[in-house]
């Protein structure tokens, strides 16, 4: 017993030394339980978000205003599915199966980003999602390229390369609409009015209220805090909005002499409401995923039967 304790302590010391030296942790390396559990939770939540995020956008494939925009939207949604797969693969290296992750999603044990619980009401919402939602995701993901877990970091590098197309296609939609008719400009403004605050909420609770932040920072799973990342996003996005004539729905925004902006505070009551399942589309999104997963069961069974047949 004595010996085991000493060994554990030594392993922990070596592990933290690796983290402190910015070395990557790989799947078969020793890691403390809270590191593994944090990663399982964070990476699978990230994967689920990519996949559930296909739904609000998929809503507009049949109604995209041109063949060009339809093809782009299809490619973007396919990317999101691919990003989900990169992340599930990274999460599976921690010793949990794909089936298990999906079951945890379906039973509500695992969460996904609350942003996807908001509806997409008009075409400009597709612009707002690409520009603001993917923009916020990129801000977070660029930082995560330096995360301490090797498979997660490598998945992030791949994802970041692909995401910048997403943000640009979204901004292009907004820009086009702002150059259009009075009605189109109103639609674009309506979209940013509804998406601005939820996009800022994507970075998670305030640093002081984020229960697992300290583990994540100590182990360098996260490299920057929620508030630091949120601030970065706010500062770079405000001028992008102003450039194409959009107003940010925050009366506290003022340009300071040093070129930065002041801004208002998130409505945290709404944040916790949506996180805890009371958003506009929570039930619909999950029910959709469960339905199609179950309806696809026969395909998996056939494929499995075929594999078994080949193995005989």
């Amino acid at each position: 017993m004595e010996l085991t304790q000493v060994t554990e302590e030594t392993l922990m010391k070596e592990f933290q030394a690796k983290i402190d030296a910015d070395a990557k942790i790989e799947p078969n390396d020793w890691m403390p339980d809270d590191y593994r559990l944090h990663l399982i939770r964070q990476i699978s939540q990230h994967a689920h978000s990519e996949v559930i995020g296909m739904q609000p956008e998929g809503n507009w494939i049949t109604r995209a205003p041109s063949l060009r925009s339809k093809k782009i939207l299809l490619a973007k949604i396919q990317d999101e599915g691919g990003h989900g797969l990169y992340l599930y693969s990274a999460a599976e290296t921690l010793g949990v199966s794909r089936d298990q992750f999906i079951q945890w999603l379906h039973t509500g044990k695992a969460k996904y980003s609350s942003i996807f619980n908001y509806p997409t009401l008009n075409w400009a919402d597709i612009g707002a999602i690409g520009w603001l939602v993917d923009g916020a995701a990129i801000t977070n993901q660029v930082s995560l390229q330096r995360t301490s877990y090797g498979p997660y970091a490598r998945a992030m590098v791949r994802i970041c390369k692909e995401e910048s197309f997403h943000q640009r296609q979204g901004y292009e939609i907004m820009w086009k609409m702002m150059k259009g008719t009075k009605e189109q400009r109103a639609m674009a403004q309506d979209a940013i009015n509804r998406w601005w605050w939820p996009a800022l909420m994507m970075f998670g609770p305030k640093d002081g209220d984020s229960p697992r932040s300290s583990t994540a920072m100590k182990y360098k799973i996260k490299r920057e805090t929620n508030d630091q990342l949120r601030e970065k996003f706010i500062q770079k996005t405000i001028p992008q909005a102003h450039l194409i004539g959009l107003t940010i729905p925050d009366s506290a925004i003022n340009l300071l002499e040093d070129g930065s902006y002041t801004h208002g505070e998130i409505d945290w009551t709404e944040f916790w409401k949506v996180v805890n399942g009371d958003g506009p589309c929570n039930k619909q999104r999950l029910a959709h995923h469960v339905k199609y997963h179950e309806e696809g069961a026969w395909v998996r069974e056939c494929a499995q039967a075929f594999e078994d047949y080949l193995m005989k």
Binding site: W30, Q100, R154, R300, L310
Partner: protein, 97 residues
């Protein structure tokens, strides 16, 4: 939820980014057979012309060792510094070596 269903076995994916270059590990996919694993790897990892070649290998077939797992395994490589060109002394002024 009923029983856990299966999603096929895990395959590691390797991509050759240009003809003549070595294959590099990219990630993993699920697939029930070789063809499906290749198709899934193409759809997942080469949507933007990232590859001129793809390998998929059943993950369970990979045999691996790391320095963390077995320090002594790599030890023979550390004590023969004369294998490196920088080990040798050369006269001042020698060129093209």
């Amino acid at each position: 939820m009923s029983k856990l269903d299966t999603q096929g076995q895990l395959w590691e994916v390797f991509i050759q980014s240009k003809a003549g270059q070595s294959y590099k590990h990219a990630g993993a996919v699920h697939g029930y057979d070789k063809d499906m694993a290749l198709n899934n790897a193409r759809d997942t990892y080469t949507r933007r012309g990232e590859g001129t070649g793809l390998w998929v290998v059943p993950s369970k077939e990979i045999v691996a060792v790391t320095v963390e797992g077995d320090i002594s395994f790599f030890e023979p490589a550390t004590d023969k510094i004369y294998r490196h060109p920088t080990f040798y002394n050369l006269p001042e002024g020698v060129k093209n070596m």
